[in-house]
Symmetry: C2
């Protein structure tokens, strides 16, 4: 049960009503704000190819879950979009970079992503590598140049968090273990959890935690946000693995059934679909329990956690 | 002539004597400090492959020109290594990333770099892409986490500068135009200058200017440093193009004669070697004239400019 008492660590919190809270509308509104900011973030100029390539993948329709989580967490602690939107956009830029590079022939060799041809299929491998590099570097520049109403030391903490979430201790490390595990049917649940926590959860964690840091969340809050994000991150990936089996390529906007073809060990392959669903639900419950203490202002984060397990693509 | 009066914008400047200044020793000492800091910057842990791959290219012997310029400029304005070394290391990480990705089969397809097999020849293309990504992201984290005795707003300005130097307005943009110009014998000097200013000079500029920012250089100083760096950057690349013709692969530690084979337009191909050398010398003179006003504390920057044109590899 969500309590209606407001945690003293929240400043000027927005009050939501659990019964009337409309998640679809909340997500749509936040997504529209993110799309607008992303649209304005990269202008095409000479040499046009690289800006067009960056925009091609960045503006391909996605759920924008990472930026929305960043905005929602900043809001929870009394912050607004002027503080969090540049970081929110940076999270999407970095996520897009990771998709472009993951899809390369030397990596997962994928032809479709977000319902469109992958970046290298349109612009060539060389430009795809460079578009990823440019998005990654620009993400940091964008945070440093555009964040408003936040003390510089907090912005630096966000820069550090984002760097760690991407580099070898974050998604790159997860991707490496993922590549090493391909075609190895004896991959353990422990290794699988390492992959998911790094490849998927690290950037979700950075998105959530950064929203908190920017708005001035304290050490105890950051601990709670970290546990919340790590758990929704792992649940997100378990659901992804289930959807890879149960959905069509059209529904996913990317190639379905890849894990089975690649003989990849996943939660469903190790535990079966029903048990995987139970585990994902447990993770979501654990995540929600971490932010319950904030009462009704945390309703968006609680409902986003529910959405992660209920989504169909 | 170097004046011995000390510019009032310098705080506690180190005094050098033009006659007795030993550039070889200065470069060797600075390089040793950089190597030590780079060595400590990345520890190998699980998953080992990615850390080993990052270290393989980062620790391959290079001139370490970018970090040394960062340290030297910070010193000129009264700063020390505690302020500049993390940024100096970050510049080398980013430079290494650009070399790893440039050498990929989808780009320049090179087998040798710094006298060793290229990263993808040893670790595979997938790991080489990821090692570059990890070095790029880690560079920003490293600056944010390790810079000492510098106000946060200055560190953020460095983060912004580094991002811009790498992304589409910097070396990625230069690399794109370079790729587009391959096999086009009608490439103009204007386009060639665009490539060099972005692919090479942008990161040298970020290295020099960041050293100044960290130590508190003012707007006028930053302007001078920018012109200094842009000019040594362009001269550096002209000399690179000359060496590609006049040196052996053994001397360079990378494949020589590549530009001719790729039918690439270069300064020597457009203007001939003697005229290219004159142009490089003019750029170096212009660079030196920008820092002359700082008197004897600027002797290292002046002599590094001379070194750029005198180097043989």
């Amino acid at each position: 049960m969500v309590q209606n008492i407001i945690n003293p660590s929240l400043k000027n919190p927005q009050i939501f009503n659990l019964e009337s809270f409309d998640l679809c509308r909340y997500l749509a509104t936040a997504k529209a704000r993110v799309e607008k900011a992303l649209e304005a973030s990269i202008k095409v100029k000479y040499p046009e190819t690289i800006y067009e390539s960056m925009r091609y993948s960045l503006m391909a329709s996605g759920k924008r879950l990472r930026p929305i989580l960043c905005l929602a967490t900043c809001e929870l602690f009394g912050g607004d979009d002027s503080m969090s939107m540049p970081t929110a956009c940076a999270m999407e830029m970095v996520h897009t970079m990771s998709l472009i590079h993951d899809d390369l022939p030397a990596m997962d060799n994928d032809d479709y992503r977000r319902g469109k041809l992958t970046n290298h299929k349109v612009y060539g491998e060389d430009i795809a590598v460079l578009a990823g590099d440019a998005l990654l570097a620009y993400a940091f520049e964008f945070i440093a140049d555009n964040t408003q109403n936040v003390p510089s030391d907090r912005i630096l903490r966000v820069v550090s968090r984002l760097g760690r979430a991407v580099a070898a201790e974050g998604l790159v490390g997860g991707q490496v273990v993922d590549l090493e595990s391909e075609g190895k049917p004896d991959t353990t649940l422990e290794t699988l959890n390492f992959i998911h926590r790094h490849k998927t959860a690290a950037l979700l964690e950075a998105s959530v935690v950064s929203g908190g840091i920017l708005a001035g969340a304290d050490t105890e809050d950051i601990k709670r946000l970290t546990i919340y994000a790590q758990n929704i991150g792992l649940a997100f990936q378990i659901i992804d693995d289930i959807l890879d089996i149960t959905s069509t390529s059209e529904e996913l906007g990317k190639t379905a059934g890849k894990d089975i073809i690649a003989q990849k060990v996943t939660y469903p392959s190790l535990l079966g679909i029903p048990e995987s669903q139970i585990q994902a639900q447990n993770l979501i419950d654990l995540a929600k329990s971490q932010v319950q203490c904030y009462g009704s202002p945390a309703i968006p984060l609680m409902r986003i956690a529910d959405y992660i397990i209920a989504r169909t693509y």
